[in-house]
């Protein structure tokens, strides 16, 4: 569980610079709905996450990721 919460904290830190509206972040925060990110912001953020973890998050995977919790799970799998 500590692994997951570490991952969560790290991703939360990466979200912060993109969180222009100062939305309170939780596992259920959605990127399109709550954070109101457009496709450009999503692209920049995904690139940031990919570079931080040295992974590739394909567009097929991105389509399945709607909220922060799902992102934590996906990055967890990719780095396992």
């Amino acid at each position: 569980m500590t692994d997951r919460s570490e991952m969560y904290d790290r991703l939360k830190g990466l979200i912060e610079p993109f969180n222009k509206k100062g939305v309170e972040i939780s596992e259920t925060t959605t990127f399109a709905g709550d954070l109101e990110w457009d496709s450009l912001t999503v692209m920049d953020f995904v690139a940031e996450v990919e570079d931080s973890f040295d992974i590739v998050i394909s567009m097929n995977m991105q389509a399945e990721i709607e909220n922060v919790g799902q992102l934590v799970d996906a990055v967890g799998k990719l780095t396992a």
């Binding site: 496709s39 040295d54 590739v56 394909s58 567009m59 097929n60």
Partner: protein, 399 residues
Amino acid sequence: MTDLFSKFDPLIQQREGLLATGQKDPFSLVMEEVKSPTVAICNGKETILLGTYNYMGMTFDDDVLAAGKKAMDEFGAGTTGSRVLNGTFFHHRDVENALKEFYAMDHAMVFSTGYQANLGIISTIAGKGDYIILDIDSHASIYDGCKMGDAEIVAFRHNDVEALEKRLKRLPAEAGKLVVLEGVYSMLGDVAPLKEMIRISKEAGAMILVDEAHSMGFIGENGRGVAEEQGVLDDVDFVIGTFSKSVGTVGGFCVSNHPKFEILRLVCRPYVFTAALPPSVMASSAASIRKLMHNGNKRAHLWENSKTLHKGLRDLGFRLGTESPQSAIIAVIMPDLERGAAMWQALLENGLYVNLARPPATPAGMTLLRCSLCAEHSSEQVQDILARFERAGKAVGII
């Protein structure tokens, strides 16, 4: 009952809002008469065409017209069939031969549109477990080809060599990879750093597809496109192109030196399950492609037009998509959709047609007035175009 159309409500409202301000609908223009590659009658008014992709002005070329008329008389109006059944006539083979001559490549396959060429080739050659690595600003036909296939899709930042390299290195070494690039990106008219991108893609063991829709006939010593211009055409596995731009007709194609290329005719669904183009279109296309091989003077004049328009618009105070003219497309960046639409209408009232481009077709949510020049635009017409831009720009308050 859920109305399946309710998902379109935001767009319907935006459209209605725009039209309620007295704005003409920029997406329902009718060319009532077409006088030449550069002039048409729109709303009863003589209008200079600056948004047609008709780069080389072949739509009214005498030889192109004559070849089409002859084929229609001799072979009829249509094929009524698939390329793999009854739809391959003499002219379909002939236009494929013309493409092989044009690109000096071993194989050519003609589709009914450029859209279908991308859709078919990309969805067919990259399958389950393979990766497609593409520029985030890729054309809709490339994205749709990805969506239709089963490969994993990885996007990288527009024209960013380092971003491409990083992603290629992170993918499994043994997986099949297709890197998809465009020579000229049609929204801003900017050119890709193909030389670098192709080198790192080859190093990563990827195959490379380059869409040269907006460069064929114009860029490169023989008009083969940006890959030729940058000296890397031999390293490109698949070139995708279209007949609906420089060639001046309609149709799409893929050329390649891959030894097994011909099998695609049996497995590529957008090639198999649609009707072949009419023989007249094929004959006109073949005539046009063979003429485009020897068009050095026209290419030089088109470059001149592009440079003059770019500098002129900049001097007038417009914001442009590229620092310098890189292709026959000059994109003028509008502050927002409302003023972009107003400027579009003001230009039309001044007898000038350009493309209004808006999200999601455009990058970064931009509204663009996209100008595409033609080798048949005279130098006087280009000056005239600049004068009309100045009048409209001042009327709308953009400059």
